[in-house]
Amino acid sequence: MMTEGFNSSPGIQSSAEESRQLGMDVLVGYILLCGVLLSMLLIIIGLVWKYIQSGGIHLDYELAGMNLFQFVVSEVHIAALGEIRPRLLVNMGIVVLMLTPFFRVLASMVYFLAVLKNWKYTVFTSFVLLVLTGSLFLR
């Protein structure tokens, strides 16, 4: 089979290498945690605001079909006009949630490239990033 003369004994890594690998776990873990918490925070503030404003937490609006990029642009545009409303906060919560796995993959790619210098996994994560980016621009 094609082992390409790769002879490192499995399971045995130098401790520096090992601690760099563990560093990646921490980085990825915190990106995921922060993304989810920020998203939830935005949604909760949006709902609480809605409740204070109208006495209920029903959000009766739909999103027209658009890709994430158009969604972000329209929300940022509304925010720039100073029209910060419950609806904007809930929408931003959804955007942040969708961008969380995206940034996780992006950070992993950079970490494989710059810290672990693992070309194989830099290529793998780049591919995933490319497909994800493409899907976010889907129409």
Binding site: M1, M2, T3, F6, P10, G11, Q21, D25, V26, V28, G29, Y30, I31, L32, L33, G35, V36, S39, M40, I43, G46, L47, I57, H58, L59, D60, Y61, E62, L63, A64, G65, M66, N67, L68, F71, V90, N91, G93, I94, L97, M98, T100, P101, F102, R104, V105, S108, N118, K120, Y121, F124, T125, F127, V128, V131, L132, S135, L136, L138, R139
Partner: protein, 276 residues
């Protein structure tokens, strides 16, 4: 519009089960939302959005506890993400009854396969093949129940990869994490320990779900009024489920998983046949 106080508890339960089993939660959420009167395509779209939240929320803890295998995850993501885009595209043009039956069929298939290997306890792969070694798919994790670090190697990545494409199609198609299928591939095909299987599946699900969500967002199927309670509930449930998982033995996780799968499989198939 379904009231917040009905959707929220259902979402908590879905998140809890999703994190406990590595399935992602959609498997509970979609049947429940359709029972509350949500159209199945909207339910699928909201479910897959919420799967991003469950996956990321619970994965964040597993990854920091060093149980998840990032390399296994990132290698397999390449295949599952392409599948997810294809699956979501199929759902947009499909009618609803086949969706129910496909949903139940996937669950039942997973249940049968898991049952057949259920009595066998995990032991480390000794015959790692060249391709899997080249892909560096191995690792170790601290097992809180056994109180020691478990070293393991994966095998048969060449078989796991195309199967993960299929898992991606199912995820995109049905708006679930398809974690059941991913866990099976990790367990049976690649020989990973059960906890590494479920937690790595959890990580992969986030990326698959994002690809699916993009398709549904573009189709205008994401409704924020439904998304808000579902996201909040699912994350809360997943948080509770995650804290429980690390304290359980591999056998209890498997038994719990089998139980949930069977109930839902039967439920969805019956609804598909009856015309829901």
């Amino acid at each position: 519009m379904i009231p917040f106080h009905l959707v929220f508890p259902v979402a908590i339960l879905a998140g809890f089960v999703g994190a406990m089993s590595g399935m992602g939660g959609g498997i509970i959420l979609i049947p429940a939302l359709t029972l509350l009167g949500v159209d199945i395509k909207h339910a699928i779209a909201i479910s897959i959005l919420s799967v991003i939240a469950t996956s990321s929320g619970s994965a964040s803890a597993y990854v920091r506890d060093h149980i998840t295998n990032l390399k296994v995850g990132m290698f397999l993501e390449m295949f599952t993400i392409v599948g997810a885009l294809a699956g979501a595209a199929i759902t947009l043009v499909s009618s609803t009854r086949p969706l129910y039956i496909a949903f139940g069929g996937v669950l039942l298939g997973s249940w049968l396969a898991l049952l057949l290997i259920g009595h066998e306890s995990w032991h480390s792969v000794s015959d790692q093949d060249g391709i899997t070694r080249w892909l560096e798919l191995e690792g170790s994790y601290p097992d809180q129940v056994l109180g020691q670090t478990i070293h393991y190697k994966a095998r048969r990545a060449y078989l796991g990869a195309p199967l993960m494409f299929v898992a991606g199609v199912i995820a995109g198609l049905l708006g679930i994490g398809a974690g059941a299928v991913k866990v099976l591939i990790h367990d049976l095909v690649m020989g990973l320990p059960p906890k590494v299987s479920t937690t790595t599946s959890n990580l992969i699900i986030g990326v698959t779900a994002l690809a699916g969500t993009s398709v549904y967002l573009a189709a205008g199927l994401i409704s924020p009024g439904l998304a808000a309670p579902v996201i909040l509930g699912v994350v809360l449930g997943a948080f509770l489920g995650t804290r429980l998982l690390v304290r359980l033995s591999n056998q209890s996780v498997r038994r719990f998983f089998l139980f949930i799968l069977l109930i839902l499989a039967v439920e969805m198939i019956v609804r598909g046949i009856r015309g829901a």
